[in-house]
Point group: C3
Chain length 344, copies 3
């Protein structure tokens, strides 16, 4: 016998008293994806003949050119346990289950489970612990509009700093993120303790970030800064400074992105910048575009356009086409996709 | 606090408008299983004494005879996210969670997650993508009645062709399956792109299959054909042609199975055939039987009988006994099981 | 669209007829944990310079001292499929999903899936099969009060016998557990078949246990005995005998624990004992304490105190402090934690 979860709006009386519940949410997306010169690891059969004529057969893997056009897909399920105390404090915990196709060899992938994120919320204050996102990943307009069913083009493409972000298919970091919203202002901060070793000696690899966001009328401005401990004396700590601007003018919305990407590696060090836009053409169709680049030789330059056609019920058709390149890259890489996405 | 999912029939008003929901369904089954000469990999402790008298202890695994009678079990949970658009098109996505006992050493096994399957349905048309079943796995009466709690006897036992099928505990293939039903007819087709390598050179291992099904009165006839690219010049492509017939006469139902199993390997090449039957003895008890064989030396011959006793509420007691053998097998293998199955 | 599971008490009419349902339940807990001299495996970068001046960089893992204070957490979700037959027999199956932090290096951990447990219940009789707990793990007052958010202090600390217990993050054993309750008495018994090997030769490692429990007024007395087959001639079978007493006097409750821990290894062989207590201070605050020890040199001695502050809705603040030591341990180990726990 099949079971059904009800939409929360219809039947749930969320009284202002202590309660506990488990919520499920997520989305599916699938379609076709084109990637120029796609390659990946596939099963390889090795056949060798010895001088005495014996034929030996072994199996392993080899990286070969695979089909440029493959079936792309993602299944995402968020599992949230939520408890509200007598005094109105909300505790919650999330684990994510996600399955993605293997973008290299074009095969399917088993669903994976994430590490857990724990949250306590009261009024404008929110504290996350565990597998959390930090101030950058939570920053308003950091990602902007990302064209394509797979959101494969982004204004942030020139950034190489490795900031704290929720891992959907792995353990993630074990960190803390604070967020406080008051009026038009919001503040965020995270701290991630991490220990590593060099030649068996312990080193600290802690990282932290802070952010401030201000919304006035139809415009949101945000700034964030973060650092990672290099762990070794004499090495400078990598850092990132980001400024974003987002504006909403009826059917048109746009974002602006500037970053000082201090990776302390010449190939990726320097300024990164980008813009993105979305435009509603009629009631169901939205067009998107994004461009991102940086001044370092290894920075990825990306630009592309996309379209979203709303089918109602949380479903839409989405597609995009875009290009990735860098100053020292031998070739640019064209990518395009098209398919359906549905939120449940 | 424990949460409960409601049966869909009772409370859900599925209005004819856009909607989104997450459904859970599945079954549990457990009991005892007998397998003649069962063996499996177990933890092995190696104790060695050196010439100087030093005793070394190591651990690894060894394959040994294990208990013929073990606890058998399966837990299966289907997780389905479903969205219906304004125009009545249904998008859905499934991941399966399944735990099975280890049939070799008799121990339990952790639950595994499958790759995701994506579906779009409208009227009589259905398209599956991702970890899907193909035209054979979806073919009417391919499996027929399979005696035993574990359905371990089947009319298809003589078939060795490896067709496209949903993987419950792995990634599965990344393929597409189409199905179209109109009146008494139904058509199916699948295509699975796959890349492999020989000595590091890419080869194509694509496979496809098609099927047609016709239902007239109490009889269903179905035919399916499929091929797999051998990938190498000079090698013939393996293929399979299957014809099935199913008939329903009140308390009695039966199926007939014939296949041309073109594996291109002498040991398994040739014709395969089988029959199965089910008979309702009174209101709660059903008896089942199946027989399958093939004319190749390596083809598996199977025959057995089973019984199902309905307990109501989706629960039943099930059991079966059967024999597997082949022309070149040293010994036949007797197998029997008994236990409970309950659908939720 | 997000989905909500309803609390079972509010809306579900469990009529006395056949039914099927899927239940979700669990808890989250997170906070900070202190462990004296914590250490764990972290990523280690090895840098070596050859005589010719070439610098080689490799990565592996190394065990180093990590932060004594880390973020501790657990996310637990029980997935239960439940079917009731026409005659009132209940069949159910459970798989658990659980994510814990890595207590060694302080990082997060991916959620894991357990092996499945199957249950049939009718009146006072219950039979579990698969990944089950045995008579000790199910014994009244075996664990008693365990101070700390992580319940890290227990009266049973002197016990070293490895009894049958449900595995939350692994396959567990494939065993059977019986329980029968009649009036003030309850009886339990389990049998776990297991096969191993020594130098490739099969050995039996079966284990079993039995228990009896008697409740009179506010006191519960329980006794349990279990043995594990050593598998080798000439080796004695390890065994465990446990006696527990639990009493409830209004706001105060306490437990007493005595065990004959026959591990057949000198370092851990002998008597183990312990006590625990809980005291309700006012309506929301509960204080807990526990002490455990054994007479063998390797037995772990533990003592500690804790506090639980109820926030309503299934949420509470919990913390504890305690010490672990043993006769031959170089140092004792101080441990403390504090955080929130919420049941959903």
């Amino acid at each position: 016998m099949k079971k059904v979860l009800f939409a929360s709006t219809a039947l749930l009386a969320t009284a202002s008293m202590a309660s506990a519940e488990i919520k499920f949410s997520g989305y599916g997306r699938f379609g076709i994806g084109y990637l120029e010169d796609r390659s990946g690891a596939v099963t390889n059969i090795t056949v060798t003949t010895t001088t005495s004529g014996v034929i030996n057969v072994g199996t392993g893997t080899a990286v070969v050119d695979t089909d440029d056009v493959i079936l792309i897909s993602r299944f995402r399920l968020n599992i949230d346990g939520i408890v509200e105390t007598d005094s109105g404090v909300e505790f919650s915990a999330r684990v994510r289950l996600q399955a993605d196709e293997n973008a290299g060899n074009g095969e399917a992938g088993e669903a994976q489970l994430s590490g857990a994120r724990f949250t306590v919320q009261y009024g404008g204050l929110r504290v996350d612990a565990g597998n959390v996102s930090g101030a950058f990943d939570n920053l308003a307009n950091y990602y902007g509009n990302e064209p394509g069913l797979e959101n494969f083009i982004g204004q942030y493409s020139g950034v190489n700093y490795d900031f704290l972000a929720f891992s959907s298919t792995g353990a993630g970091s074990n960190a803390v993120f604070f967020q406080y919203a008051v009026g038009d202002f919001a503040f965020g901060a995270s701290y991630d303790t991490a220990t590593g070793a060099i030649n068996g000696d312990k080193i600290d690899l802690d990282r932290w970030d802070v952010s401030a966001t201000y919304t006035f009328n139809n415009i949101t401005a945000a700034i964030a800064y973060g650092e990672t401990d290099a762990g070794v004396d004499g090495l400078d700590d990598p850092s990132l400074l980001v400024f974003t601007l987002g504006a909403d003018f009826g059917d048109f919305s746009g974002t602006l992105f500037v970053a000082d990407d201090n990776t302390e590696i010449d190939l990726t060090d320097g300024t990164a910048w980008g813009i993105s836009a979305a435009y509603n053409v009629g009631s169901a169709l939205t067009l998107t575009a994004a461009y991102g680049d940086g001044n370092a030789d290894g920075d990825t330059e990306q630009y592309g356009i996309g379209a979203i056609y709303d089918l109602g019920g949380g479903a839409s058709l989405q597609g995009g086409i875009g290009n990735s390149d860098c100053d020292i890259c031998e070739d640019s890489s064209l990518r395009a996709d098209f398919g359906a996405r549905f939120n449940f």
